[in-house]
Symmetry: C2
Subunit: 485 residues, 2 copies
């Protein structure tokens, strides 16, 4: 066991990523085996202390989603290729599945790994329409795979945490108001700090474009330009729109509307454009109702530059920014779509939803030290063995007693020096170690050492449970403990 636990923790933040740890490992260690066990680019793998943190975030997001009555589903990692390509655009990032054949060449299957949870949702709704109760409210927290070029903080395998509400034939716009509240509930719970949900409605811009004769796929392309350049590069946006066929009057109008601070201001600028004003009216209702549903008004921003790059959005669109970290881009996005399943079922199931890209967010939160991984164990007590020869069964019984009261406990069963057992407890982040030898057992007592405060106390075994819970909180709280910085 290396003797310097503290030295290790200093490099811990830098080494959570498998790439780094592997590099570090190679420096100090000769590798004899011929199998490549190094990191796979873009496939993150966390040490236990980071996975504990990730699991905590997932639990909290899930709890927030369930608080709003979203039911969990999962879909297979694999979908038919024809399903995955039915919406278009992502084929080049897709992984297909093969089966190794006898001769070494792979036999292809008709399957690929899903690259998001939206296409699988559309297929799920189309497949199970008769068994589902509409409006169908589901959340889905699963890994997705994209074979894009891996970069720092961009992964090929990552978690998405989606919620959607899907109607059968129609879905009231009022449901769009729930999404900011769900985001607020989830982000409030995971400790990202302050954040803002930016909301717009695609009908505002598409209505404007339509009034000037821009239609169909041309509108989608124009919205992609707005999404690409947005507010940050207005001259380039203007040039791109003009090049795209927008007349100067239209470009001016778009550039006027984008920076509008309120729906009322936008409404004034949209005088005479009925379709665009309809979008603004929808947006106003969504914002008002979100506040009625509990969304803090100061976290809600009408932002007419939000356009979203994806074709299928038809109304409300959302993006979420962490205050002070706008350079991260949107960490939770989504919108309203009216015809996602049409290609799959010939029937419209309109819906609205949002998605948190959790793996990237976790990575950014750790990199920025907003969150700091803590313990390497979910247990709160390590039962050490001071005199295993005589008291082995007593140590085991103590472990059983603690677990019986819901206290996550590990019993150390290697015949190592007590000093090494304590070092082990400190390195793993146990708050408490239980120590007992004949001195304690003769008095029906044990010593509880608080490893955080470097203090200890001898307590009677009959008082063990209250003594532990007094120090670490009542049973049930251990597993919920946040390990936030």
């Amino acid at each position: 066991m290396p003797p310097h636990p503290r030295r290790r923790s200093a490099t811990a933040v830098a080494s959570y990523e498998r790439g780094r740890t592997r590099d570090q490992r190679l420096k100090g260690h000769s590798v004899t085996a011929s199998v490549n066990i190094g990191p796979i680019s873009g496939f993150p793998e966390w040490l236990p202390e980071v996975r504990i943190l990730e699991q905590t975030l997932i639990d909290r997001i899930r709890r927030a989603y369930e608080l709003f009555g979203f039911a969990p589903i999962e879909t297979p990692a694999a979908e038919r290729l024809e399903v995955l390509t039915s919406k278009g655009g992502m084929e080049r990032q897709m992984y297909s599945l093969g089966r190794p054949a006898e001769d070494g060449a792979d036999a292809v299957t008709s399957l690929g790994l899903h690259f998001d949870l939206t296409v699988p949702l559309a297929r799920y709704v189309a497949s199970h329409a008769e068994e589902l109760v509409f409006p169908f409210r589901r959340y889905q927290i699963q890994k997705v795979w994209r074979g894009e070029r891996a970069q720092r903080g961009r992964f090929r395998e990552f978690y998405q945490c989606d919620v959607d509400i899907v109607g059968d034939g129609s879905l009231a716009v009022a449901y769009d108001a729930e999404m900011p509240c769900v985001i607020n509930s989830a982000f409030g719970a995971i400790g990202v700090g302050e954040f803002r949900v930016h909301v717009s409605n695609r009908k505002i811009l598409s209505g404007l474009f339509g009034a000037f004769g821009i239609e169909g796929e041309q509108v989608a392309e124009a919205l992609r330009l707005v999404d690409k350049y947005g507010m940050s590069d207005r001259p380039r946006l203007a040039a791109a729109l003009q090049e795209h066929g927008c007349e100067p009057k239209l470009v001016d109008r778009v550039l006027d509307v984008l920076p509008a601070g309120t729906v009322e201001e936008a409404m004034g600028l949209l005088e005479g454009f009925d379709a665009a004003r309809e979008g603004a009216t929808e947006l106003r209702d969504v914002l008002d109702r979100a506040v009625q549903l509990g969304m803090p008004a100061e976290r809600l921003v009408a932002d007419f530059s939000i356009a979203r790059g994806l074709d299928y959005y038809t109304g409300t669109v959302y993006e979420t920014f962490v205050a002070g970290n706008q350079d991260w881009g949107s960490v939770c996005s989504g919108g309203r779509y009216d015809d996602l399943t049409l290609a799959l079922s010939g029937r419209a199931y309109p819906g609205v939803g949002i998605s948190i890209g959790l793996t990237r967010l976790l990575y950014l939160l750790i990199q920025s030290r907003t969150l700091q991984p803590g313990a390497r164990t979910p247990a709160v007590v390590l039962v050490t063995m001071q005199d295993a020869e005589r008291y082995f069964d007593d140590y085991l019984a103590l472990g059983h007693r603690l677990r019986g009261s819901g206290i996550p406990t590990e019993v150390y069963m290697q015949p190592d020096a007590l000093r090494d057992q304590i070092t082990y407890a400190v390195r793993k982040g146990f708050p408490l170690a239980l120590i007992a030898g004949s001195r304690e057992f003769d008095d029906s007592a044990v010593t509880l050492r608080d490893l955080r405060e470097r203090s200890q106390e001898t307590v009677r075994i009959s008082d063990l449970i209250p003594s532990v819970t007094e120090r670490v909180g009542p049973p049930g709280t251990f597993l919920k403990r946040a390990r936030h910085g």
Copy 2:
């Protein structure tokens, strides 16, 4: 909205499997789209009520694992092919990953999907040895993929729930005693009914074989024969062993030992076979210590016919059977291995672990009606809208108030008749519906309808939270509610 919620629930158990639901759907429904959205053989997909149940089982297993101080990890779904094939035997069931190329042919990658969580654990330990604290205790709950022939209850994509304890160079046998306790804790929590953990030690049989000159790969093959025929077909086992080169005296001895009821009885039969007796001594210690750690003795069975088919086990082996459902086979198995990582790192990290094949278990528990899916929503209150025109904002505010107290709540926002809203609540399995119009709001009150008891009561809004929790339990218990039959 279909008018007969009750008729649907009668066929629910039969229709959880995607294959069935698709068949049923096709019967009553014309499919217009050309994309195949039918089930993919072997890739199960559950309706929300079954996923809620699956999630409940996973939560409880996880809690049981954490109670014993196992830390969570996940590994990427993909590993290098050379890692996946390093232990041998599973190549033919493996899925490889491809990247669709421009010309339509797939480009192969050097990656495949993991088919268990044991090979990834070995690779994880070898990759991160310097960052881990040993003994390393991890649990891992993830899907695995096997391209085997799909049958009823055998899946190509399924959840495994693994725990392992891994030492650096050595690991005390005492840790083997923890596994039955972990199984007991997990199975006790998920409501499978009564069960037995059968334990043996591979050294008993391998010691016997060794004493008669059977060695190396021949021993592994002989153990596979014992695993295959076990106690159920002793004449075939005898014939197979003889054919395998075991002399009659050895075969007799094996057939004598297999049915032994206690370690003492086996010890008597193993007089003179020191290596075999050493295994029996280990087994006795493991059983004794498991009881000290809290394992109920009546659920612990010394069973010398347990051999496990996998090569890498070297000592204690476990299988778990559900009482009355022995035909399911073992639902949780594992064992001690001494050299799992040797091929990957050139260094021994011995370990012991178990694995629950959760998807199959869930399937069997539902088929046997041991577990019955319940609600289709995690929410406990549906706020209906009797007079949306006048009170829309009040309904939203009620939803916010309930959620603010931790009560999972859905607000119905479609402009449908109240009758339809109540039908929706019943079909989704809400215990409570909140109903209010001018009669109630004028008195600052709402009506709480209990949809289980078909009773209702008007309560003051100031008393709403206690009135709800009185009927469904205090906040925090909703999400833990079991939906067991």
